[in-house]
């Protein structure tokens, strides 16, 4: 299994998943069904996460096929530019969905501004993702080329799309900008471990006098830290894409992040959190909650370890 395989495996999810998410979300608005709304939000979050490896494997796939006969580098660049635009809309949609999921048990009705924002961003994402899929397909499939090229919508969009080469240069041209991104990446790490990490430790039995429900109120700060790291991490990747995609520690780090987020999600959706919330101070958490918390903790620290083994980064950029 190499990057082209992985890319083909992953790249359909953001496109189809976002459309499914939009469908569910619209259904929930019309039928006013909370369960369907929550499902659509979960779909958006999952797609926002799967978009990251889909994007990253694209760089690896590009390197593999760029010298093949019949492959146009211009088409690849156009696809990459389209992807770089849709990724950010996808991540905003995912972030809005996380906020809505957090608000859900605390509000009787969905928060209006967020419902509106999710609607707008998910629709834009669906459109941009479809375009990304289309421009990607054209790289290999000459039979679908040029149908919509030159249309007004096409030229308007390509105006906003970053030129991948320029975007890349922008990230690495100033070492102080790079240093700032890395600084934020570490501060995000601290927020994540200080909140989600401490919640996991409490579930495992450390400082049992702290009620888990109360500690949970810190988790949005951890998610904000994760968001900071997602943004700075993606920007760093865009700055030196081939450097990262060649590094096994980086690939494993991304895998560990996806698993760690899954573990965090499982903590809430399996009811482990509800069981923990009901505990009195000093009481031990149930075994299934401990298993999830332990796995989560190990994975977050694995992310730190693997991140540090992305090796020559400091040296190559600092000089």
């Amino acid at each position: 299994m190499d990057f082209p395989h992985l890319h083909l495996l992953l790249n359909h999810f953001p496109i189809i998943g976002t459309i499914v998410g939009v469908g569910l979300f619209l259904t929930s608005l019309v039928a006013k069904t909370e369960d369907v709304r929550l499902s659509s939000l979960v779909v958006f979050v999952a797609m926002a996460l799967l978009t990251i490896p889909a994007f990253i494997t694209g760089v690896g796939a590009q390197e593999k096929i760029v010298s093949d006969a019949g492959i146009s580098n211009d088409l690849i660049q156009r696809h990459e530019g389209s992807a770089e635009l849709s990724v950010w809309f996808m991540e905003v949609t995912g972030a809005l969905a996380v906020i809505a999921l957090w608000q859900s048990p605390r509000r009787r009705t969905p928060v209006r501004w967020n419902t509106f924002a999710i609607l707008i961003f998910s629709l834009l994402t669906a459109g941009l993702m479809a375009r990304t899929g289309n421009t990607g397909g054209e790289i290999r499939h000459s039979e679908i080329r040029s149908a919509e090229e030159g249309t007004a919508a096409d030229s308007a969009l390509s105006h906003f799309e970053p030129s991948p080469a320029k975007f890349t240069r922008l990230m690495i041209v100033n070492k102080w900008w790079w240093a700032f991104m890395m600084d934020m990446h570490f501060i995000g790490l601290v927020l994540l471990i200080g909140t989600i990490g401490m919640l996991n430790l409490r579930v495992l039995g450390f400082s049992k006098q702290v009620p888990i429900g109360a500690l949970n109120r810190l988790v949005p700060w951890g998610i904000a830290g994760f968001g900071m790291n997602l943004i700075t991490g993606m920007l760093a990747f865009i700055g030196m894409p081939t450097f990262y995609s060649h590094d096994i520690a980086f690939v494993l780090k991304i895998a560990a992040i996806l698993l760690a987020v899954t573990a965090l999600a499982l903590f809430y959706v399996t009811g482990a959190f509800r069981d923990c919330e009901a505990l009195e101070p000093g009481e031990d958490a149930p075994l299934h909650a401990k298993i999830i918390a332990g796995t989560s903790l190990v994975l977050w620290f694995a992310v730190i370890v693997l991140g540090r083994y992305i090796q020559p980064l400091q040296d190559s950029i600092a000089r």
């Binding site: 570490f186 790490l189 994540l192 810190l218 101070p281 540090r308 083994y309 400091q314």
Partner: protein
């Protein structure tokens, strides 16, 4: 080269020639330099992570958390601190000229000193006096919590900048 030997003290060169220092720098083993760096980052997470969470609590986030129950967290922070003192010494040992010729290195150490002092004051004033009322505790705690966040952010920033501001990589070799 000649200029370099004038500005960098000779003992740093001697330190760099020792077996341990050379091995830390040049070893291809995964237990070399980056292994130490891993510990330094884990230590950072264990010190600053819980401390930031305590600061947030004192500043009004998650008000249901009973503050005295967070007393145990200091053990974790002391552990993180110990890890970072040890791993920090090894990092300096690997690149002594790089560290000691960089003003940012002294800035970082100073900020670490103030941050630890602040942390100890927090422990003593907020956690060791069980008799004080909650409102008295929070009145004292706010300033300490703000300083804690500022100082640790400064430590992280100064630490991160070490990678971008050095003037010598090793003795006689400019960055």
């Amino acid at each position: 080269m000649r200029e370099a030997s004038l500005t960098v003290p000779l003992f740093l060169n001697a330190l760099e020639q020792t077996g341990l220092s050379t091995w830390l720098r040049e070893s291809e083993s995964i237990f070399g330099f980056y292994f130490i760096l891993v510990f330094h980052t884990i230590g950072l997470a264990l010190v600053v992570g819980p401390n930031a969470a305590i600061d947030l609590r004192i500043l009004g986030v998650a008000p249901e958390i009973p503050v005295p129950a967070l007393r145990n967290w200091f053990n974790l922070m002391w552990l993180g601190l110990a890890i970072n003192v040890v791993s920090g010494i090894f990092l300096v040992l690997a690149y002594p000229s790089k560290a000691f010729t960089n003003p940012d290195f002294y800035l970082k150490l100073t900020l670490v000193g103030f941050a630890i002092w602040n942390l100890q004051r927090m422990k003593r004033q907020l956690f060791d006096d069980a008799t004080q009322s909650e409102s008295a505790m929070f009145a004292k705690g706010r300033t300490l919590a703000v300083w804690s966040l500022v100082l640790w952010a400064g430590v992280i920033t100064a630490g991160r900048l070490l990678a971008y501001t050095c003037s010598y990589l090793v003795y006689g070799v400019p960055c």
